[in-house]
Subunit: 307 residues, 2 copies
């Protein structure tokens, strides 16, 4: 079963039809040889719709504000959200060194399946093996260049894409995103189980959609009930880094492609934890010719765009 | 890469390890020969976390209240939500006629991967081919018996599971679930694109999480911004059946396994449309020995559990 038409991808010989994709295991092409990616952070959940993409984007923007070199690989091939959050429509250019990831206003390099489509609503109807190949190519065939951290925004589930990401990329940290619903906790536990089986360290938990403030009376309330984050933290052995509100201002900025203008005070502990993680050398072998760990000296944003 | 341990599945020879699964294309075993399923309704979205499972469960309960025979196939193998919504932990029994789906209090028959696990938090780490086989076996090896409608709760994305469901099951109706976020609309459009490519009719759109009522001042507001449902309806050529609120009462009932106690007035148009759909003979060839279409004469619930 084909997915997107080959015509939309023919400018990118690297991203091609299933039958043309050679086994990419341990393959190193020209672009991967010139890449220096010090850390690979996976943003995972297991459950859909908890805000993985928003957390990935906010994390990238906060780290870029600290002067770090950041990339985002949108690993949700069939439901990509990242370009929309950044208002990005630029199609990636192709060079001898590989596919060149477009940069956002704050300098975050981005690769997403939606950047390869002529119409963002076009479905990518691909089975597992092709999804797997796309993830491997997003790693080996993209000219990421010199990055302090590549953030991988994972799709829901514990199937092909998360599995391939953990198997084929030097992931050295995972951020788990959840919501206060018990159902979400149960499914996030599954994703944490996958991470443990793959021996990947979970840096912490972000509980999204924890509360909302009524625009009429200004009172805050817990829309999805009381938090289960601490119980989840006990189960999976990782700390709760932050509980984030649903904020209509943030939603509006994200929905209109202005995620780089978001400032959310509640996100500061996440940014701090990530800055510390990036400043610590990875224990996982990175790409060839690793560059030294960056010196990070900034206090992540503690402002708030929500007024 | 294996997923759940084989020990947890060995009681169910039908649901087994990847290497043991024979090609199931066009396969009809004993259970599928005694099944009479008149309609197969897929609840889809493309995007995760929009409330597909809640809509599937509420639809099943409403139709069961009308006296119809209803089943739910939880096709989200790696992130199954259905058993939790119904508070169901019964393990399916196995018989010569196939796997026997446990029934909820209102008589809805349910099959979900989580019913086969010893621990609901255990991850199912399966790649596409095994997911595909599971879906086919949920169709052919489960003793669904006589059903007016089987509701298939699809996972997010447009990869293996939705594709296999549309290819291998006689789906004759799709309910699309979305939220007011533009991002959701974009991804729902992808799922609608898949449905169109597979020539499956979209019955309508349910916009979930459309508004919320403040518990302090009682004022309603649009948490995720203004609706995009009508634009989406224009794009995909299907009507908006309902806009559902986020209701903390409903969330609490669903989170504690009491979805059968939910009564939401806003859902009535969806139930009516589905009752009409079930009362109309399917144009897709069903399982062998089809029974006549049922006579439905009920007005779906117009009450409200939210007080």
């Amino acid at each position: 079963m084909q997915g997107v038409s080959s015509t939309s991808l023919e400018r990118y010989p690297a991203i091609t039809k299933e039958k043309d994709i050679a086994p990419a295991e341990n393959e190193q092409n020209m672009s991967s040889q010139v890449n220096h990616v010090r850390h690979v952070l996976a943003v995972a959940s297991g459950k859909g719709g908890v805000g993985k993409s928003l957390v990935s984007a906010m994390a990238a923007v906060e780290l870029a504000r600290c002067g770090l070199k950041v990339g985002i690989m949108d690993a949700d091939i069939t439901g990509p959200s990242i370009p929309r959050l950044f208002g990005m429509t630029a199609r990636p250019a192709s060079s001898m060194g590989g596919i060149i990831p477009p940069e956002t206003e704050t300098g975050v390099k981005i690769i997403s399946m939606n950047l390869f489509l002529y119409d963002s609503g076009q479905p990518v109807i691909w089975r597992g093996p092709l999804l797997t190949s796309a993830i491997k190519q997003f790693w080996t065939d993209v000219a990421w260049g010199d990055l302090d951290v590549l953030i991988v925004d994972l799709p829901p589930g514990t199937a092909d894409v998360p599995l391939t990401t953990f198997e084929s990329l030097p992931v050295d940290g995972i951020l788990m995103v959840t919501t206060p619903q018990e159902l979400a906790s149960m499914i996030v536990e599954k994703a944490a189980g996958l991470a443990k089986q793959m021996h990947k360290p979970i840096l912490g938990i972000v509980e999204n959609m924890a509360m909302v403030t009524c625009p009429h009376c200004g009172e805050a309330f817990e829309l999805f009930g009381p938090s289960h984050a601490e119980e989840l933290a006990d189960h999976i052995g990782a700390p709760v880094l932050a509980r984030l509100p649903i904020d209509p201002t943030v939603t509006a900025l994200a929905d209109t492609g202005h995620v780089e203008d978001v400032k959310m005070a509640a996100f500061a502990p996440v940014a701090e934890a990530l800055a510390e993680y990036v400043a610590t050398p990875s224990t996982v072998p990175p790409a060839p010719n690793p560059a030294p760990a960056p010196k990070v000296s900034c206090s992540p944003c503690s402002g708030d765009s929500t007024g």
